[in-house]
């Protein structure tokens, strides 16, 4: 038994060493030769890792990535305040950027970077910059819904006739961004009524992928998602989208909302130059090309080319919304009151 005790002690010692080896060295912000290593809080998909790798290859500046969801990381940065280890923050949707911006935690984006992107994809205060976009769509089952049955506006989904037939992913930042567009264009009272209708009508899923899968399996007739989930699945095997089609809302309806993925430099970052370089790189032709190759989201920098299978960005009819006005916390509050969260 003593022998076993000693063996256990040795094993424990080993594990501690292993831990140190596996996780060590993550607190330094600067390598031996003076090149900084940036900490990137990334709420976007994995293609950002490819872009970061290309950035490191080009500049020698290392990038450590912390992954999470939009609102989660945004609120985390707010709690961390001045002590935040993050140098750069990248999101899927705008409300999370607005949340951090509202606490005055961003540095101004370099003017050269802003020039890379059309004004429509920047907030009015230019504290952060858009680098990708995704369009709201309704994925539907063409066997259950004929073109004439499709709703003209996303607000119609709150009507009683849709009860039990539709799906949403209310806990995710994606759907919450769409709600923020409804809020920005239609006001609080209309949004609250709409959410109450959705709570009664919609089945709730953990994410856009799950919503699409449910439509594909015939569990529901239609679901609100972003376009790229559908295109990515079609490009891979179509296993989860084969039986579905996409319906684009039009005429500036909030259902046609184009959500902007943003990038910004934290004011508290000790590596302002390097951080600005990374944000500039995200809007560069090189990074936009990686984005367009690895993802079905829209690259939005000037001169970037989208994948040919996507509906052209110029044909979309999104509502005109200043990304800086999209209010995440208010949306969460409304959704809690409606019982969706």
């Amino acid at each position: 038994m003593r022998v076993r005790g000693r063996a256990m002690a040795v094993a424990a010692g080993l594990t501690v060493i292993l831990t140190a080896a596996a996780c060590g060295g993550s607190n330094g912000g600067t390598s031996a030769d003076g090149t900084p290593t940036l900490t990137l809080y990334n709420a976007q998909h994995d293609f950002v890792k490819d872009i970061a790798a290309a950035f490191t290859k080009k500049t020698g500046i290392g990038v450590r990535i912390r992954s999470g969801a939009d609102s989660e990381l945004a609120n985390q940065i707010v709690q961390e305040g001045k002590a935040s280890p993050a140098d750069v923050f990248v999101t899927e949707n705008s409300p999370a950027m607005t949340l951090v911006d509202g606490k005055n935690l961003f540095s101004k984006v370099a003017t050269g970077t802003l020039a890379n992107v059309p004004d429509a994809y920047e907030p009015s205060d230019a504290d952060w910059v858009g680098f990708a976009a995704r369009s709201t769509v309704l994925a539907y089952d063409p066997k259950a819904l004929k073109p004439g049955d499709l709703p003209a506006s996303i607000l119609d989904l709150a009507q009683p006739r849709w009860k039990g037939r539709i799906g949403i992913a209310p806990a995710g930042a994606d759907f919450q961004a769409i709600v923020s567009a409804v809020l920005a264009t239609r006001g609080e009272a209309a949004t609250a009524t709409w959410l109450a209708g959705l709570e009664a009508n919609a089945k709730k899923y953990p994410g856009n992928g799950a919503v699409m899968k449910a439509v594909n399996a015939g569990e529901i007739e239609a679901g609100v998602i972003y376009h790229y989930y559908w295109y990515s699945d079609r490009a891979e095997s179509g296993a989860n989208s084969r039986n579905t089609e996409l319906h684009y809302f039009s005429g500036g309806d909030p259902g046609a909302f184009l959500s902007i993925s943003g990038a910004g430099v934290l004011r508290s970052s000790r590596h302002q130059d390097a951080a600005q370089q990374l944000v500039a790189f995200l809007t560069s032709p090189e990074a936009q090309k990686i984005l367009a190759g690895a993802s079905k989201e829209y690259p939005i920098a000037n001169g970037a080319t989208q994948q040919p299978d996507l509906r052209p960005l110029s044909q979309l009819q999104p509502p005109k919304v200043d990304p800086a006005t999209l209010n995440g916390p208010k949306v969460v509050d409304l959704m809690q009151r409606a019982g969706l969260l």
């Binding site: 424990a12 990535i65 609102s71 989660e72 994410g207």
Partner: protein, 532 residues
């Protein structure tokens, strides 16, 4: 059993039958050694950090907000879901676990040693991997029925293990005496065996309940919302927002109810025996005509708990040949998981020892309160513990923020109960009179601890450490929040894969989790297999 009754009435705080101590000795034991008390209270306070945080937060947001956030239909729905799942799973696990343990330990079921291993192996399959296996085969398991099935299959070993151990430690002479006094086999089981199994059964069921209150991954995957999955949803939309902390407060109350309930049911009886005696192996009960159906039932249990999830995993591993095996990432995630879970096992077991000691050797209100305090962490989801530590670290100990020590501390808070249950029951079976004898023979307290007590409870310590290790390997939410940036464990990588429904991409991480959980599970079953 008259012995036990007499013990209860004459010396409720000691027990131990014939070894009833002199009043002087009792007085000495009642005086708590200050060092032991200090350390134990320190551990308890550490474990209570998240609770303090939730309470302070609740006070700070004000009554109106609390009412607005709690008094809404969504919270009622979550309460109903959480309660019906936890209670049903505790009852099912207790029945399945106890029945299986009795069959393996006390019946003539063919292949008992193999069954013993097969029944414990589900411990090595994390609940969320089990869910993943099922849900990737059929979405029909989503919802209440499927959730109950899958969590029961994952958690019944928590009852099976302690009950089997108690049955092994139970001298068959008790049963033979009951038989000789005219009790039939069933009456003997109900009146003699079952009461002896009560601490193990209730302790196991309590663990199941606490696990369930905190279970996130499995239930999220099965789309069955409980308080814990709702807290995660709240967290994703607001990080450390008021709603998340209010729901966590309700969860704490549920945990409190469970702890009090178990305490009440367990009663005050003590179960130490004086002297090990020389128990013979029990004569196996003959199953007779029931043999075939029982064998079938056991096979069905093992099929559902093992074959289905492992089969699905194997399928995705093979099918996922398109999804490459990223060797570097897999290796680094494995090493990180091993290191973190190993450190957590060590730290947690060390922390559990003084508390268990206090509560077993100095029974009384103080010991009970301190011991129970350590259980709260386990009922709080990892995310609540992590959020509390994040906030505290940012405010008071910035250098610790996003470091390994803080993460290991979170693991320790979360998993103390697992170590406690094993260490406590091991200590309870060591009669304190052995210490007295050693000391009377001139051995100092430290040497007594080292040479007498520790060897006797080594297996309990090992079992506790193994349980913590298993939990550490699969921990998800606290790891996501607290780990140093750039740290990836098998669990976080697996979760990232399943979240984007790439079952094949997640499969290698799941397989490695099962693989590195296997040795700890082996350790837990070894005792059983070497027993007579």
């Amino acid at each position: 059993m008259t012995l036990g009754t007499a013990t209860r009435s004459t010396a409720p705080e000691r027990g131990g039958g014939a070894a009833a101590p002199s009043p002087a000795a009792r007085r000495v034991r009642r005086r708590y050694p200050p060092a032991l008390l200090g350390v134990s209270v320190g551990v308890a306070l550490l474990a209570l950090i998240p609770l303090f945080f939730v309470a302070a937060y609740t006070v700070s947001v004000g009554w109106d907000t609390v009412v607005a956030l709690l008094w809404r239909p969504r919270v009622g729905e979550l309460l109903w879901n959480t309660t019906r799942l936890a209670l049903a799973c505790m009852v099912l696990s207790a029945v399945v676990g106890t029945a299986a343990a009795w069959l393996v330990e006390r019946s003539d079921l063919p292949g008992r040693r193999i069954w013993n291993v097969l029944l414990v192996v589900p411990l090595a399959i994390p609940a969320f991997v089990n869910s993943y296996g099922w849900v990737s085969i059929t979405p029909a398991v989503e919802g209440y029925g499927g959730a109950l099935l899958i969590v029961t299959l994952s958690y019944y070993p928590l009852v099976y293990l302690p009950v089997a151990a108690a049955l092994r430690g139970l001298d068959p002479a008790l049963e033979e005496t009951a038989n000789a006094l005219g009790h039939g086999r069933w009456r003997t089981f109900v009146r003699v065996v079952l009461p002896q199994l009560r601490p193990a059964m209730l302790g196991g069921a309590l663990l199941v309940g606490l696990h369930l209150l905190a279970e996130f991954g499995a239930l999220q995957m099965l789309r069955f919302p409980t308080f814990t999955t709702a807290i995660y949803d709240q967290f994703e939309s607001s990080f450390n927002g008021p709603a998340a902390n209010m729901v966590a407060g309700v969860l704490v109350l549920c945990c409190l109810l469970l702890l009090l309930g178990e305490l009440r049911l367990r009663g005050r009886a003590r179960y130490a025996r004086l002297g090990a005696g020389s128990p013979r192996p029990a004569t196996p009960s003959r199953l007779g005509v029931l043999g075939a159906p029982v064998l079938l039932a056991m096979a069905a249990l093992v099929t559902l708990a093992l074959v289905v999830p492992l089969g699905a995993l194997g399928y995705w591993l093979v099918t996922g040949s398109s999804a490459s095996f990223p060797v570097a990432e897999l290796t680094s995630a494995t090493l990180t998981s091993l290191g973190l879970a190993g450190a957590a096992a060590l730290v947690t077991t060390v922390l559990a020892l003084p508390v268990a000691w206090l509560c077993v050797r100095h029974p009384g209100p103080v010991g009970t309160v301190v011991e129970r305090a350590t259980y709260f962490g386990n009922a709080l989801p990892g995310i609540v513990v992590a959020l509390a530590l994040v906030t505290i670290a940012i405010r008071y100990t910035p250098p610790l923020y996003q470091t390994v020590p803080l993460l290991v501390l979170a693991y320790a808070i979360l998993f103390l109960p697992r170590a406690m249950v094993s260490v406590r029951s091991a200590l309870a079976q060591v009669p304190p009179v052995l210490d007295d004898v050693a000391q009377a023979l001139g051995t100092g307290p430290a040497a007594t601890m080292w040479r007498v007590t520790l060897p006797l409870i080594a297996r309990g310590l090992g079992a506790g450490a193994a349980l913590v290790f298993l939990a550490g390997v699969t921990e998800l939410t606290a790891t996501l929040l607290l780990s140093p940036t750039g740290t990836h464990t098998l669990a976080t990588e697996f979760w990232a894969g399943t979240s984007s429904i790439s079952y094949a991409g997640a499969a290698p991480y799941a397989a490695l989790m099962v693989l590195i959980s296997a040795p700890a599970t082996y350790l837990l079953t070894r005792e059983a297999r070497t027993a007579p």
